[in-house]
């Protein structure tokens, strides 16, 4: 970021306003509905929430003439269901949702999503409150595909979650906070984000993250320009800057997620060779092939799925 400021003279302010997609949406929905400024030039949101903003017309189109580096976007993220042709959004970083565990507590290595339901781990399991992550993984465990799931698939997965919750098998449904519990040994197994476990690796080399053999979820956090931004030109300059492989590698070195920029892996090997070897940051093709993306849900479906999911997690 300081490099960018030096190169362009544009001052960047990085704020961590967003703790939770839904909470942030509740905050910006009203002003954007009335076309009022939210005082941010770029916001970074997860796929489905980015999709909701695009559908609602809250996002400004990206100006491709100011974005030559768009060519560096990796192929499998070029066309996504919520933003065909990437007219409004491009990934900031991607991450994987799978199973994180503490081998000292599990006493063995895990390979399958079904291991999380092993009765031995009763009361030592957490899952995520982020519906698409938890639901997607359980669907995969049930042999369903989150990329074209039906309501029946969601109901089946939720019934399984509810049963485990009611029996006391699941200790909590969490946001990022499961990571501390996993490191502290309060829990043995968690549905976990790859970046969190990679981030903890330095202090807790024992913690593991796996993509279960049934498959794992892939999500991206996407940069969007709110339609009320009055400096869209500056925002485009920053987005273009981020899509230079060397710059993207710098971002990954600071936040251990997955770059969506071609060639960032090679650049990362130059500045942080150890990190570049981690499959959590630089997933090999075999792993990439097992990653799934939750399909786009209509607004009505979103409410419907959320209803049964919230019921399953007891809230």
């Amino acid at each position: 970021m300081p490099d960018f400021e030096a190169a362009t003279g544009i001052k960047v302010e990085y704020t961590e306003d967003i703790n939770d997609n839904n909470e942030y949406f509740a905050k910006i929905d009203e002003p954007l509905k009335r076309s009022q400024s939210i005082d941010r030039e770029i916001i970074v949101l997860t796929d489905w929430m980015a999709g909701r903003l695009i559908t609602l017309g809250y996002a400004a189109p990206l100006d491709d003439s100011k974005f030559p580096n768009k060519a560096n976007l990796i192929d499998n993220l070029r066309d996504v269901s919520f933003d065909p042709g990437r007219k409004y959004s491009v990934p900031w970083l991607s991450g994987m949702t799978g199973v994180g565990y503490n081998p000292k507590k599990t006493g063995r290595e895990l390979t399958s999503m079904n291991d999380i339901f092993d009765p031995k781990y009763k009361g030592q399991v957490t899952m995520l409150t982020e519906m698409r992550d938890t639901l997607g993984l359980i669907m995969l465990a049930n042999g369903a595909d989150p990329a074209n799931c039906t309501k029946a698939d969601a109901e089946k997965a939720c019934a399984r979650i509810k049963k485990a919750r009611e029996s006391g098998h699941i200790r909590a449904f969490t946001g990022n906070d499961y990571a501390e519990d996993l490191a502290a040994g309060n829990i043995a197994v968690a549905i976990a984000w790859s970046g969190d476990i990679q981030g903890l690796a330095a202090d807790n080399p024992d913690l593991r993250w796996i993509a279960p053999k049934e498959g794992a979820m892939l999500y991206s956090d996407n940069m969007l320009i709110p339609k009320t931004s009055d400096r869209q030109d500056l925002a485009m300059a920053w987005i273009n800057y981020c899509y230079d492989p060397a710059h993207s590698a710098q971002i990954v070195a600071a936040a251990p997620y997955i770059s969506a920029v071609k060639g960032a892996g090679e650049e990362l090997a130059k500045i942080a060779p150890d990190l570049a070897k981690s499959s959590l940051v630089n997933p090999p093709d075999e792993l990439r092939a097992r990653l799934h993306v939750f399909r786009a849900l209509s607004d009505a479906e979103d409410t419907e799925f959320n209803k049964i999911f919230q019921d399953a997690i007891g809230a």
């Binding site: 909470e23 519906m131 909590a172 502290a184």
Partner: protein
Amino acid sequence: MAGAAQGGARQSRLAPYLLVAPGVLWLIVFYVIPTLTLAKTSLAVGDAPWWESYRQALTGYGDHFLRSAEYALAATVIAVLLGYPLAYVMAFRAGKYKNLLLGLVILPFFTTFLVRTFAWKTILNDNGFAINFLQSVHLLSEGGRLLNTTLAVVGGLTYNFLPFMILPIYVSLEKIDPRLVEAAQDLYNPPSSAFRKVILPLSLPGVFAGSLLTFIPALGDFINAELLGSPNQQMIGTVIQNQFLDVRDYPLAAALSFVLMVVITGGVLLYARVLGTEDLA
């Protein structure tokens, strides 16, 4: 006192209204208008009959309402049991340490509610010293835990609202005329019956106010259940929060909030009737 000067009659008739005006204005802007908006939201159910969101609220979330009431009641009772003796000591026995004790009761308020509740998460950590100690003296089974249990949620609620119990009781005890207690003892009442016949009845308004100040916020609380509970301890506040933010079923969330408010208001009125006090400390 009844015969005010004739000249000031008009002025004194207006004065009470002027005095309550700021408070009434505040209530209109921050209570009446939001409540009406909430009522409107709860009825915005599209084609369904107008009571649809209320039907869902009443049929689908009985467990959560009941659980919230149980937890809030438990926290209130424990707070009375802990708070009354402490307030008693502060009012009658503390001597020069009175202000110090009062300060200590208020001290936790200098840190925010959320941070204090997070701190309990660390204290009750499965591998923390508190749990290890309880396990080593066999108060807790090997592999047992406190975090994410009912006990932790009720404990958190009690802890967070205890000062609201202590302070009103303290105030009502403090203003009891010591001569009344002396008179009771002069009339050959042993201390226990002096307490029962004089101090306790005179301090009831404080207990009443403290119970309301503890029970009502505890009933609507969601932080303690969220941070210290497991998914099987979620309270009605959690449901309302999730319906507003995650499911975005605004009518249902509004209906749930409304039902909660009605339950609280009804409960308070009933409580006031039974305890029959007009003097809220």
